[in-house]
Amino acid sequence: MLVGAALAILAVMGLVLIRALKGPTVYDRILAVNMFGTKTVLLLALMAFISGRHDVLDIALAYALINFIGVVAVLRFFEYDSEEALSAEIGEEDPDGNS
């Protein structure tokens, strides 16, 4: 029974990967990777109960945290995607307060 749900989550990951490949902007790709990570957490939780070894849940817990850190780190890198967006942004107002 749980294997069916695990297969559904795998299908979700496949759909999300299509969005990651197709996504026009880099932010679509980051969104897709973030969703992929969250689904990995759910898949790990399901696998913990399918295999009966409940200590796999620790891995799911760790993955949930690391996935978030990774996404935020990549976002910090891609915040100012294009040069004109950066100059336009700095021209308008200084978002982070550091001139």
């Binding site: 749900a5 799911a60 817990l61 996935n67 996404v71 891609f78 915040e79």
Partner: protein, 119 residues
């Protein structure tokens, strides 16, 4: 197959269904911001139902505590990540598609009146 297990499997399958709905939404929506909205569905209701179903299976054990921790962390981190993504997308110069931008796409697909004419 006690009543508890049936309830757990029903919850897990409903959660998987919501995850599928969210993933299809991520594929079909026109721009980043609406995709974020549909991605949020899977992080909240999908994760909740699946983890709740598993919690029913786990019963009063350590696994239940771990599942609660996973759910709490997921519920705290995914909105924050989505917010950071929206902020970065806006700074990166991505602007949401408005009704008249979509008029082009809708006119291409449907022959009836476009959203802008209704407004």
């Amino acid at each position: 197959m006690g009543i508890l297990e049936i309830a757990a499997y029903v919850l897990v399958f409903t959660g998987a269904f919501f995850c599928l709905v969210g993933a299809i939404g991520v594929l079909r929506f026109p721009d980043v911001y609406s995709r974020m909205h549909s991605a949020g569905i899977t992080d909240t209701i999908g994760a909740l139902l699946i983890l709740l179903g598993l919690a029913l299976l786990a019963g009063w054990t350590l696994a239940l505590a771990k599942l609660v921790f996973i759910l709490v962390f997921l519920w705290m981190t995914s909105p924050t990540a989505t917010h950071a993504l929206a902020k970065a997308a806006k700074h990166g110069g991505v602007y949401p598609k408005l009704a008249d931008d979509l008029a082009g796409d809708v006119a291409a697909t449907t022959t009836t009146e476009t959203p802008s004419s209704k407004a």
